[in-house]
Amino acid sequence: MGEFFFNIDHGYLEGLIRGFKSGLLTTTDYANLVQCETLEDLKLHVQSTDYGNFLANEPGNITVQVIDERLKEKLVTEFTHLRNNSLEPLSTFLDYITYSYMIDNIILLITGTLHQRPINELISKCHPLGSFEQMEAIHIANTPAELYNAVLVDTPLAPYFVDCINEQDLDEMNVEIIRNTLYKAYIEDFYKFCEKLGGKTAEVMCEILAFEADRRAIIITINSFDTELAKDDRQKLYPTCGKLYPEGLNGLARADDYDQVKQVCEYYAEYKALFEGSGVNPGEKTLEDKFFEYEVKLNVQAYLHQFHFGVFYAFIKLKEQEMRNIIWIAECIAQRHRSKIENYIPIV
């Protein structure tokens, strides 16, 4: 029913986002980009795409960092335009998208302060989509409780943080636990929000978020081998809105090595294919890349439906992937490391 009135509130933005999406680089663009000899070539070619002359006013030789900054700037401009023109519930939905960047920024700042890095240097590394007012004051906190009471309590992340207040210190391990706890709470909350929205949005977004949850669970498990993280602590970090819940997560909780993880995922058709196609040998794609490819596929599929918010989420994710690709290619060119230049994730 909501579809009938979708265009009244969100028609303009959906049209816009579909236009943005069609501006994503195509396979021919990538084929041209990987042929570039220098970053100047890259700049010249990118000029002929939707990016236009976003690098035209850069003096001197451009660096990968400059490209990265400009790319982010462009994404942020587009996102801000969407956010400013959106109406409820789309505006809340768009806010939800920024929360994940906020979590990343918080963790980045905390780890940075742990390593005694100056705050200004850290701030410049933060993703601009996830910046918030109190962000720069994070380094006053020494314990999670302090972090919550002083800084995070005013941010929308506050309810997610309640679970990790009990941690004693901010050491590297705990930071990682905080990150995953926050993410778990965030994904579950986002999932619930999408379910509440219902309709096509729920259909599309739940699929994407379920995959995101499962990916996190699998990655957490694989990364936790040979660390001091206890198995039941590990289980607490798994987001419970994925397809692996509950049997698969139980299996993962018991897993001791990579093969056992693989065994657990054998029972799920989508993930089985991902595990089978991956490997660490040269010429094979890593599991991470496989996950990225699957994510891209899900996001592209979001565009097959109309009248739902999934396209907005999908666009941000696709754009992020595209930025990773451009940066990857740019890095390969800058470091003269051409053998791996083809390892970008094509968006088709």
Binding site: A56, A137, D154
Partner: protein, 721 residues
């Protein structure tokens, strides 16, 4: 148009392309479409131009920032020689570096200046804080000595907890952006558990941001706290909120001294800053004189190299091969330009222009001048005619303004429009030189000849409609006279009116009596302005009919133009299945309607009382109705001969006035106006309907069938082989 091949010597290519570019008569084809942008031959030069453009844009931005007028000489500099590029590059490089250096200095000075101003504000405001607090604090201290519980502020609480009689409070003072203040205060309170005391005061005048130059609103704050732990924490928070802290002495004397010191430093800085700005201004003013011309030059170089990138190298690597479309009539001029280009570059071998045969459809080239350009633009916005199709623009020059005028039709407003158009046309050169960037004005300016013509025709139609600012002229004397006796004394007039049939019954000029018999010589009779009841009825109907006639004529004309196109391209298919059904459709419905309009105008006059086409026509209010006729035609309604009087039919054979006959006073119209009308109209309608599917489907279907046939025969040929 013809496709030509150019053989240009390597060294002459640049000059030749520059000459051709100034000429603007050729369209180059991209001969390396598969080569990506950065793999082309002259990519280096294009890139250098990009860099120069960037520097120029930077210059322009700086010039605009200082709002220095940019001199535009409107001259068109020739494309500079390639070797000039180095000079240009060096000039721009020097300018840019100089400017950057100046900017850096200025920014630093400004930063210093901003800091000092902030410090000045801090000293001034804190002075106030201390002064107003001094008395209060003393009172509080004495209260604390007496051990009276009090919850007034933070300082007091600390004092109690520490249990010291005279608390030694420390403070930091700083400046923060005003919009960040609430969050700052909240976080401060939370992080320090309420153990700090913050006073703040807004700086009323906006300060300028050193790096962007934008005005920012800031506020001074002073935080009182106790102990070193709190101090580091407070400092961290200040850092987090990008608040700048300034040293602020404890005693009033020191503060005053510092204040004086700051003031003198601010004065010094102002002089230095002024000098720096003067220098910057001088540099920019010098640059502003040339920046437009430089931009044109750089763009020309870039365009030339861009075109050169389209070219092929021949096998010997000695010359470039280009392909371009050019109008056949202009070949001589192009040859001449090439010759000039070769001579300029001092090349010994002349450039060769070679006509090629091609089966490709050439691009359309419509020659236009300043008069036709506006019309051509309008036509092109609907779609550009294919090569060798008739260009409708020349006809549009008359039809477009005329159709406009039929709708506009007012002599007074038309004159205003005419004058406005005339002004634009006469002041053409000056306005062009003024280069007004405003989009709306540009729109009017490019359409100036159109506005002028629209004005002319509006004056004409306004004259025909006899309408100037909705008033009429009685130039030749109306052909309608007053039938009502006036002035007479009341009684006699009443009597006269009763004789005429009563003013209330028909407050109108009865044609039989009031019309002189001679029509008004030209245009609409001015008497119509006085007709309050049916002025609009008459004028609208008249204008509508005229508009239909002209409109349908225009449509028919368009279809006939299409016919000439089809004939020229020898396309039997189009003539049979596009042109013929179109013209049949149009004539069956609309041209038929037009004929009716003309017929009605000619055959029915005001007096009546005679037969037209065998049907009796009693008087002017019983003429056939076109609208109802058209509706009946589409509804295929069967109609009896005779009149419709009000809502009922009445027979013509019975004379008016008798029972069953018509009285024909109110609205009445002739049902049929020629014998067999229903029959003909049904046939017209059915033919028109039959044309619709032919227009829609016939051509695609036949093309599809032919294609299939071709495929089939292709296969059979293969089988035979």
């Amino acid at each position: 148009m013809c496709l030509t091949q150019l053989f240009l010597q390597n060294e002459a290519a640049y000059a030749c392309v520059a000459e051709l570019g100034e000429l603007g008569l050729v369209q180059f084809r991209d001969l390396n479409p598969d080569v990506s942008a950065f793999q082309r031959k002259y990519v280096k030069e294009v890139r250098r131009c990009d860099e120069m453009e960037r520097k120029l844009r930077f210059l322009e931005k700086e010039i605009k920032k200082d709002s220095i007028p940019m001199l535009d000489t409107y001259e068109n500099p020739e494309a500079p020689q390639p070797r000039e590029m180095f000079d240009l590059e060096a000039t721009f490089e020097k300018l840019e570096n100089e400017l950057r250096e100046v900017n850096q200095n200025e920014e630093m000075l400004k930063k210093n200046f901003a800091e000092l101003t902030e410090l000045k504000h801090i000293l001034r405001k804190t002075q106030q804080f201390f002064e107003e607090n001094e008395g209060e604090r003393q009172a509080l201290d004495s209260l604390a000595m007496e051990d009276a519980p009090s919850h007034h502020d933070g300082t007091k609480l600390i004092a109690e907890r520490e249990g010291q009689p005279k608390p030694h409070l420390k403070f930091v003072a700083g400046v923060i952006q005003r919009e960040r203040l609430p969050a700052f205060e909240r976080l401060l309170w939370r992080a320090c558990r309420g153990n700090v005391f913050l006073r703040q005061s807004e700086i009323t005048e906006p300060l300028t941001d050193a790096s962007t130059g934008a005005p920012v609103n800031k506020a001074v704050f002073i935080i009182f706290f106790q102990g070193d732990q709190l101090k580091t924490r407070v400092k961290k928070i200040c850092e987090g909120f990008r608040a700048t802290l300034y040293p602020c002495p404890d005693t009033p004397q020191e503060r005053r001294e510092m204040s004086i010191g700051v003031m003198t430093r601010i004065e010094d800085l102002k002089t230095v800053l002024g000098q720096t700005q003067d220098h910057r201004h001088r540099v920019l003013v010098a640059a502003a004189k040339n920046v437009r011309m430089w931009m044109t030059k750089v763009r020309k170089i870039k365009a030339i190299y861009h075109v050169l990138n389209f070219f092929n190298l021949d096998v010997t690597q000695k010359c470039l091969i280009a392909e371009c479309w050019c109008p056949v009539t202009e070949l001589d001029r192009i040859q001449l330009a090439l010759k000039r280009g070769s001579e300029e570059s001092g090349s010994t071998v002349p450039s060769i222009l070679n006509r090629m045969d091609t089966s490709e459809a050439p691009p359309t080239y419509n020659k236009s001048n300043k008069f036709t350009q506006g019309f051509q633009n309008i036509v092109d916005s609907y779609g550009i005619a294919a090569y060798r199709e008739i260009n409708p623009a020349p006809y549009t020059m008359i039809t477009f303004p005329f159709l406009f005028a039929i709708m506009f039709g007012d002599l007074g407003h038309g004159t205003i429009m005419l004058l406005a158009g005339l002004f634009l046309v006469l002041q053409e050169k000056r306005l062009e030189a003024a280069r007004i960037k405003d989009e709306i004005f540009q729109m009017f300016f490019t359409g100036r000849y159109m506005i002028f013509l629209m004005g002319c025709f509006s004056v004409y139609t306004g004259f025909i409609y006899n309408d100037a600012f909705s008033k009429s002229f009685n130039l030749f004397g109306s052909s309608w006279g007053n039938i009502f006796p006036f002035p007479l004394d009341e009684k006699a007039r009443e009597q006269a009116i009763t004789n005429l049939g009563g003013l209330e019954a028909s407050p109108m000029l009865i044609p039989e009596k009031a019309y002189s018999g001679e029509p008004y010589p030209i245009g609409v009779d001015p008497i119509w302005v006085l007709a309050e009841a049916n002025k609009l009825n008459f004028l609208n109907s008249m204008k509508m009919k005229a508009a239909i006639l002209v409109g349908i004529a225009q449509m028919t004309f368009g279809i006939i133009l299409g016919y000439h196109n089809f004939k020229y391209f020898n396309s039997k298919l189009d003539i049979l299945y596009t042109f013929i059904p179109q013209i049949i459709f149009l004539s069956c419905i609309f041209i038929y309607l037009c004929l009716q309009v003309i017929m009605k105008w000619i055959a029915y006059d005001a007096a009546g009382g005679y037969s037209v086409l065998g049907y009796f026509y009693p008087s002017s209010n019983c003429a056939p109705s076109l609208l109802i006729g058209l509706i009946n035609m589409f509804m295929m309604k069967s109609r009896d001969d005779g009149f419709v009087d009000g809502n009922k039919y009445c027979n013509t054979s019975i004379p008016p006035g008798k029972p069953g006959g018509c009285n024909m006073v109110g609205l009445c119209h002739l049902n049929n106006w020629y014998p067999g009308q229903s029959f003909f109209e049904t046939i017209f309608l059915l033919t028109a309907i039959a044309c619709v599917p032919v227009m829609l489907f016939a051509k695609p279907y036949i093309l599809w069938k032919e294609e299939k046939q071709r495929q089939l025969s292709g296969h059979t040929q293969l089988v035979q082989v």
